[in-house]
């Protein structure tokens, strides 16, 4: 069959391509400043990774347009982790040995980043993790590991203060993603509930990719918790809101910030009214000129796309990296010495970006960023995010969730 002969040829060619791609990597004619960027660019989290990438490209294109650093262009090398730790490890090894990157950035999801950061530490290459909140990433004493996103206790601190001082719920329940993202938050909130004397009515779970939450919500409806902690990503969170409405279930939903993406608002619509979380959404801090500038430039570059939390975290991540590289000095022939200098420069980071001020503590964890408790409130029927506490920063007062028939 002619097709089969053609196919044999294709395979042969593929074989050759494969073998030849293992010659020296074709680099640009002039030297660049290579930075490896990790992220789940395929799979179910791909759209969030895209947001992160867009934020990063905004920063990098800007710097390169002005001539780069020392006349060299910043080169972002993207590596797809497929949200799997083993693929992440393979990609980061490639970055370090083959692409000879100066530093690794990006990264989304804790399980992958725990693995990749360990590799970076073993290979003495600095890594600055962008979006992952498990405390484990920075508490293993790895000096080459930094993180520009707050960890879970920090993320939840804002909401927790509000819960403790203002809301004081008597009964709570948990509806969590069965990942470390969900379980870490669960531990923190469980401890908090203990502290404020709230009764924990139920601990329920779901898997990423689940779409039917009616079983869990029906159970919650029966228990009637005042507040329900819900850690989920965009799709699941939006579906939970919708299904809560369909089942006529009312509670004060409390989540984290990562779910309040544009896709979430599009999917949930007005049903997500009153949902709360702890967010670093840039559009909340428009009074800050740095943030306003970022939002304006982002919207200009990406034709009216609204920047969300992942875009701003991506932006901050690469800005911190570029700032450290600048302070470390021009790259030399000695890759290890360069990487060590960048690590030292990272330690001394102090820069104002969209999340606020970025400074690292002794463990490489940023400690100067404080997410605020936010609530979704309807403005002309459209859901918007407002900071509701503390009063000094609040954009709007907290609203108690009304029963469904009394809304709108």
């Amino acid at each position: 069959m002619k097709a089969s002969a053609l196919f044999k040829l294709f395979l042969l060619v593929a074989l050759c391509l494969t073998v030849t791609s293992y010659g020296t990597r074709v680099r640009a004619a002039e030297p660049t400043i290579p930075i490896g960027i990790l992220g789940p660019f395929t799979g179910s989290l791909a759209f969030n990774a895209e947001e992160m990438k867009k934020g990063m490209m905004l920063a990098v294109d800007d710097v390169n347009a002005k001539g780069g650093l020392w006349g060299r262009k910043i080169e972002l090398i993207f590596g797809d982790t497929e949200a799997k730790p083993d693929k992440g490890v393979a990609v980061v090894k490639k970055f370090i040995t083959r692409d000879k990157v100066l530093v690794v950035g990006g990264g989304y999801a804790s399980s992958v980043n725990i693995a990749t950061s360990e590799v970076c530490q073993n290979e003495k290459t600095p890594i600055v993790v962008a979006i992952a909140i498990s405390p484990t990433i920075t508490n293993r004493g790895f000096d080459y590991v930094f993180r520009t996103s707050p960890n879970s206790p920090q993320f939840l601190a804002g909401v927790n203060e509000w819960l403790e001082k203002v809301k004081k719920p008597k009964t709570v329940a948990f509806l969590m993603e069965n990942t470390d993202y969900g379980r870490d938050g669960e531990k923190i909130w469980s401890a908090l509930s203990n502290k404020i004397g709230a009764k924990e009515l139920a601990h329920l779970y779901f898997e990423i990719g689940d779409t039917d939450f009616t079983t869990q919500i029906s159970k919650l409806k029966e228990l009637k918790p005042e507040a329900t902690f819900n850690i989920a990503s965009t799709t699941e969170a939006a579906l939970i809101q919708k299904q809560a409405k369909e089942l006529n279930f009312v509670t004060q939903w409390i989540g984290v910030g990562g779910q309040f993406t544009e896709a979430y608002f599009k999917m949930a619509g007005p049903t997500c009214q009153y949902a709360m979380g702890s967010s670093l959404e840039p559009t909340l801090a428009m009074k800050n000129p740095i943030v306003a500038d970022f939002v304006k430039r982002y919207e200009a570059k990406y034709q009216k796309a609204r920047p969300g939390i992942f875009s701003s975290q991506g932006y901050d991540n690469i800005m911190v990296i570029m700032d450290a590289i600048k302070r470390a000095g021009k790259p030399t022939e000695n890759l290890q010495a360069d990487r060590d200098r960048i690590r030292d420069a990272l330690r001394k980071t102090s820069i104002e970006l969209t999340q606020g001020k970025i400074e690292f503590d002794k463990t490489g964890q940023v400690y100067t960023v404080t997410p605020s408790p936010v609530q979704v409130q309807l403005v002309d029927g459209k859901p918007q995010l407002f900071i509701v506490y503390p009063p000094a920063r609040a954009g709007a007062p907290y609203q108690v969730p009304l029963p469904w028939d009394k809304r709108k």
Binding site: T42, F47, G209, T211, T215, K266
Partner: protein
């Protein structure tokens, strides 16, 4: 506790009805052609995307109903070409494993192709009722879910009518039971194959629209319905349509009740545990499947 139980049963029935539609297509195709199509759930995904794009042109009620029609026709057409050019050539040459693996390849291709074409961002098919809730005596649900349940029921009923009362339908069932005898009776097997695959795929497409309305639409959405459809099919007996109908509802309710009373964490495992248990005791499924080739 009464109302929670009934609520969960209703939840299970609604989800089960969507599983049913998708599973019926799968079991029909297996019954007639002995094809286990692991890409079946991706036909649902394609149906959902047809709807997403169609409602951009026509919104509200007309849009939703129209999208069902478009999805059925669109996916049916795709099914026609897939059957004719991918599966048909294989039927006489190779065996079960090859077909399963071909369909796995198709599954990987469609899932990732969809991500490239449509984007990874999840979407929803707009609910013409806007999630209006209905509160009945023992349970609550939304209007659209009831409509979907109703629609599934009607679709299943019409399908049964087709299969029992029309000549073509009877021919399909005959081929399913005994292909050689059917040929001897003068049935055009080639036509029956195409028709069955088209109808089965169209049903999957419809299921996809319902799924995308009640739940969400994203490129990876085909994987779970495929597994559930297989679970349902095996539970009911492969090739047995009545089995698929019962199996769908049984699985749906088993998952919600199991999740509620046993464990939320392992809710998704319940389906598999049930099939494994059933298969160990009754290898042909609850209602008996068709003989293998």
């Amino acid at each position: 506790m009464e109302s929670l139980f009934l609520q969960q049963v209703l939840n299970g029935l609604i989800v089960g009805s969507v599983y049913c539609l998708i599973a019926i297509g799968l079991t029909m195709i297996f019954g007639v052609m002995r094809i286990s199509n692991f890409a079946h759930g991706d036909f649902s995904m394609l149906g959902a995307y047809f709807a997403i794009y169609f409602v951009l042109f026509l919104s509200g009620w007309a849009g939703w109903v129209g999208s069902l029609v478009v999805a059925a026709i669109g996916v049916g057409l795709i099914g026609f070409f897939v059957e004719r050019f991918l599966f048909r050539p294989l039927l006489t040459r190779w065996t079960d494993i090859d077909i399963i693996m071909l369909s796995i390849g198709l599954f990987i291709l469609l899932e990732n192709g969809a991500r490239l074409l449509f984007g990874a961002t999840p979407k929803m098919i707009p609910d013409p009722f806007e999630s209006k809730t209905i509160n009945l005596l023992f349970f609550s649900t939304s209007e659209i879910r009831l409509i979907c349940l109703l629609f599934s029921g009607i679709a299943i009923f019409l399908l049964q009518l087709f299969l029992t009362k029309t000549k073509t339908g009877v021919a399909i069932r005959a081929t399913s039971q005994n292909r050689n005898a059917a040929t001897l009776m003068g049935i055009n097997i080639s036509f029956i194959y195409s028709l069955t695959f088209v109808v089965g795929s169209a049903l999957a497409g419809l299921g996809g629209v319902l799924y995308g309305t009640i739940f969400a639409v994203f490129p990876m959405m085909g994987a779970v319905p495929t597994l559930k459809a297989f679970a349902v099919t095996i539970l009911g007996g492969m090739g047995n349509i009545r089995g698929a109908i019962f199996g769908g509802f049984i699985l749906g309710v088993a998952e919600t009740l199991g999740g509620n009373y046993i464990s939320m964490q392992y809710k998704n495992a319940i389906g598999f545990v049930i099939i494994i248990l059933v298969l160990l005791i009754i290898p042909q499924g609850l209602f008996g499947g068709v003989e293998k080739k």
